[in-house]
Symmetry: D2
């Protein structure tokens, strides 16, 4: 009996959008998904053109998410979409995710998950109520060597963790391009569409999620400095924070979008009593392990020394680099496996979304006050 791909509907991601196309490629890569429906833009012409370019049949290119939900629900179960990918600006995530979940669809949602903690809690409640699968696109956590790193820490290879350093340096908002018609920049720096955090919400959440995910630790308190360097910008473009983790580990988080000349420099370092690890997103196929008492090791994508579960994630032998789209495809692969009820690799979900919403809230609150250390709600 032939195994058919799952069926995906997408909301957002019209012509010219960045992340929608990434989702489509990621979903297609392993043959687990087929895009069959979409509501790509509120602009009717743009919506139609995108659907045509993607080879969708016109009836399944919908003007709105609501129309897509209604249209798909009217189809036989074996044609209807299984899941909705939400790739709209942040302010639409919560209402759309909840609507899709309530209509019985699984959801793949872009990050940050919500505009604030209240929205995040509402999504979490909807996930709990509906029992649908919910994946959150914290893509970097889906690089296989991040899973290797997490396992290494979890099984104590590094000893007790003392230090967590995470940084995410971008430079593309170094100038005031927000007003120049750069759609990506525009909505990301508008509080009404992006939320209370600018850079903080856009990439700070990635950094924080990765730090907690790999270290296996929870940050209890933080002390933050939130800055807007570019004149006229309405949200932060630079975040620095000190973190204190349960058990005494100390952390530093540095995130910015005005580091001129930097590309997409997400880097994580964790040190314990016996050694440390380092991973950089821009060279994602190497995990460096340094030891107190023996030479450093380079654990390589697809190479020897990997946990079996990690080795199984690679699509090509070592030395054939996998990149960002492959990491993204790992999300879709895990999401599909979960929907199919197969044993699967873990993926970031609504709990990560709720946690990072609380992180954003704590940073914004702390940075605006004279309080040195603020708690992060668990």
């Amino acid at each position: 009996m032939s195994r058919q791909p799952l069926r995906l509907g997408m909301v957002g991601g019209g012509e010219g959008a960045f992340i929608g196309a990434v989702h489509r490629r990621a979903a297609a890569l392993d043959g687990d998904w087929r895009l069959v429906a979409g509501s790509f833009s509120s602009d009717a012409g743009r919506n139609t053109r995108t659907g045509d370019a993607l080879g969708l049949i016109p009836q399944r290119v919908y003007p709105t998410l609501d129309a897509m939900i209604a249209g798909e629900q009217s189809l036989p179960a074996d044609q209807r979409i299984d899941a909705v990918a939400i790739v709209t600006p942040n302010y639409l995530h919560a209402p759309m995710a909840i609507a899709a979940l309530d209509a019985g669809f699984h959801v793949m949602c872009e990050k940050p998950m919500a505009m604030n903690v209240a929205e995040a809690e509402a999504i979490a409640a909807a996930v709990a109520d509906t029992g649908r699968q919910f994946a959150l696109a914290f893509t970097y956590a889906a690089y296989p060597l991040i899973e290797e790193a997490r396992l290494r820490v979890a099984r104590g290879d590094l000893g007790t963790v003392r230090l967590v350093q995470v940084e995410y340096l971008q430079g593309w908002l170094s100038q005031s391009i927000d007003k120049g018609g750069n759609k990506q920049a525009e909505w990301r720096t508008d509080p009404a569409r992006a939320g209370a955090g600018g850079c903080l919400g856009d990439i700070g959440t990635h950094a924080f999620q990765l730090a907690e995910h790999v270290s296996g630790l929870r940050a209890e308190t933080l002390c933050a400095d939130l800055t807007t360097h570019v004149a006229g910008r309405r949200l932060d473009d630079d975040v620095s924070a000190l973190l204190r983790f349960t058990g005494g580990a100390r952390g530093v988080l540095k995130v910015t979008q005005v580091a001129a000349g930097e590309e997409n420099g997400l880097k994580l370092r964790i040190h314990g009593t016996r050694g440390g690890l380092e991973w950089s997103q821009m060279e994602p196929n190497t995990l460096t392990l340094r030891w107190l008492d023996r030479p450093a090791e380079l654990v390589r994508a697809g190479g020897p020394g990997l946990d079996e579960s990690v080795a199984a994630q690679f699509r090509t032998p070592s030395g054939h680099p996998e990149g960002y789209i492959e990491a993204f495809a790992n999300l879709y692969r895990g999401f599909a496996a979960a929907i199919r009820g197969e044993s699967h690799q873990r993926f970031p979900d609504v709990a990560d979304g709720l946690r990072t919403s609380r992180f954003v809230e704590a940073v914004v609150t702390n940075a605006a006050s004279d309080t040195k250390w603020s708690g992060i709600e668990n």
Copy 2:
């Protein structure tokens, strides 16, 4: 009017094969292709299971290429496959490519294209006769920064080229795994299925093609040492060659599959009178340019300084690494564009296949003789 993907049939690439799955992912990535037919294995069960796992309808999973050709030709033109991807062992490339071309299909063929020069010439004749598109999977030439490198050399940035160094170091054949049931190793070291070159045909052709492609030069003569290090192996696993190019440039080619610990280390360096360039497949998103009179530059995937045609090839902003599968997808994208008659990026074709066949022949001949310098037929 909706743009439908082109339809692909595959021969070879059953369960457990490596390169077939890469072709399928590469074809799927950009939505240009849909796999609709296949003849994946001469083993009927394996063939059926592969087709099922890929979601093909049973009628389009054929026992042989001939059956696929016949079956597809019987379908209406708007359902029939547009192209055949040939991902079988080397000895099947020529007969299958010629059969597919003669039946009117375009062909995407794995490398090395043929077992010998005679076969290569026969394929070239079939391409010329049929006017079909023929793409050859010299994947590494499809990395965008290789095109940037080629353009830089072509427009004289480096001055007159003096030195070409290409190396391709793998270690996976360091031990005698050829007989241990490793299918990849087994046929690659069998002259009847791989051809006269072992490592030489498998990866030496990649290295040579890349060196000529980027330098824009033709090697006129070569002097080679061909070695088999692993006892009992019937083909070379180690190649060293000196090259002399038209115009006086000198080259060194070093290719091996017994460099224990190496992964997939293809690296190209070219130096001219004004500067040099360096590119490594394992970190494909950086092209290093060194200059006689100013600091070295790192040209980055998606970053500033790229030729417009190269910048257009990237799917993600700089700092989001693209890898091997993306390079492979560039081949399929170019192949699709050529079939559709759109302006397109160049891809390796039958001329590259013929040229590298002549290179293999020249190396084998030279290495077996006391002649110092042997010509390479143009």
Copy 3:
């Protein structure tokens, strides 16, 4: 007329000490100095053995600094030492430096300069009163590419500075070796001999000095977290601080000696409105410049693109790596030139010592309080 080396006396640096031997090599490297006297250890046998091993005549191996001062003052001016190198534990720096200055000698002093701000001010007063040259061994500031970086920032290449990140990661105090007879570890973690800062004073001062020196900015306020990870240790072994600079630039300083597996990882990054720079002490011969609108550049030791004053500092052509001892020798070369009244390269001096003492005080004060932002006295 023959140019004779200057004459150096050393206090501290007996057998088994680390930094004394580095000073001796640095002083010898360029022929500017000859070690002719010393008081190497309070242990008489050790003192004598050290002097013998260094080829000193016994009369000039003194039991104490006071004896050395008296002995040298009794010699004719053309035999007498010109300068004293102070390489003792921190608590001896101030009294010894002041004694040497007051006796008319120039001083090369190890860092941190003093136990506290009061001591630092006393040394500064002695320097002002005596008019003697005073060099402080902030060695890392003496790497030539640090001067290149400083000049690049100063002349505005990066635009207006927005971000300063400095880190200094060591791992050698990851375990409780302080009590195990490791002399280096022992005194560095004893408040009575090291001062109020452990890791903070030992390497935090290096990091802070470098950040201000290269950025050309002053940190106005800071917010710090000071931690002792190793049980029983009496001083901090881990420092994290947020910095706010005059003009609005933001900084992060991360310094630790418990990053297991790290060696001597001092790294500085500065970003402005037009680009950024990066320099790592462990690969000191490359300065990376990244730009908003063009490819990154690698400025190399001895290579093209350097300021003339920087190019003049290298002893070997590009590609012949210079390291830590060469940087240290640059200090001695500059110190010698200043004593001789020749035009010279700047070296860290008493102002740097006073400033970093104030930094240490501000961190200790802030970290012990609930105040978020503390000023650093200028």
Copy 4:
């Protein structure tokens, strides 16, 4: 009893020379040597100025080597020089070395040791006859991690060696600066002063010596291509050679001085049946080991995992980079220890000089002929 430094006389190395100053710094670094005499230039003024700048007494600044020999022999044994450092152009090495040896002095000689094999044999005979120590400045062999590499190979860590790749890429002779008053370039490209090899003798000898030294293998035959790219140059500026070693290992040697933009890129790679090693002179403090069955390791200068004899060679803890001058100083340290009859680290000597002379001869002979493989006399 005080340990006095050994006394060194230098021939060559006047103002503006490169390598003489390196020798002086290397000799001074560890306090083992004191420069007390010299004959720096055949130009009397230059000779005098150099001696003055170095603080020598005028009586020991001699017009010729012969005068230095005579003058020093007339001094009491405890004042007389112990050794002569020969840093003149190549054609003077043999007569000077023989004269110095015959007069009873130890000799530190620049490379290449001789103009031809006959000269090399004459020096070897003089060393044998006089029993004096003779050190040859194959500096790169004196990097401690090269000794670590040699030991690793010798004790079989890599298994049986199959592949040796050595390259040495420089770019400084990319243009015709030989005639423009660049003294370094001028004599190196004059057959009468440099010998039969240009680039071959100058840096090819380094590469070949390192390859044999670390691999522990002897090259039996070679096949070479010798090229002069710059019009009007009288010696080669580019060398490529294939090597066949005893036991079946295969090698490639690539050496050039016209790789525009390259600095001093000496790199060695050796692969055996179990793994491989890689070392680059420009980052000399890391030795990379790659393994067939486990992650690659980075063995670091001064770090864990080193052989005890290698660990003892470093002057600073790991992470404090040592460079070219330190490697050079290792030669002088070993040379001093040998003269003093202490147990010592091995240094390149007359055997290396003779062997590399035979290599040069074999390359020149082979490259000028149609013979594919030429033997190298042992």
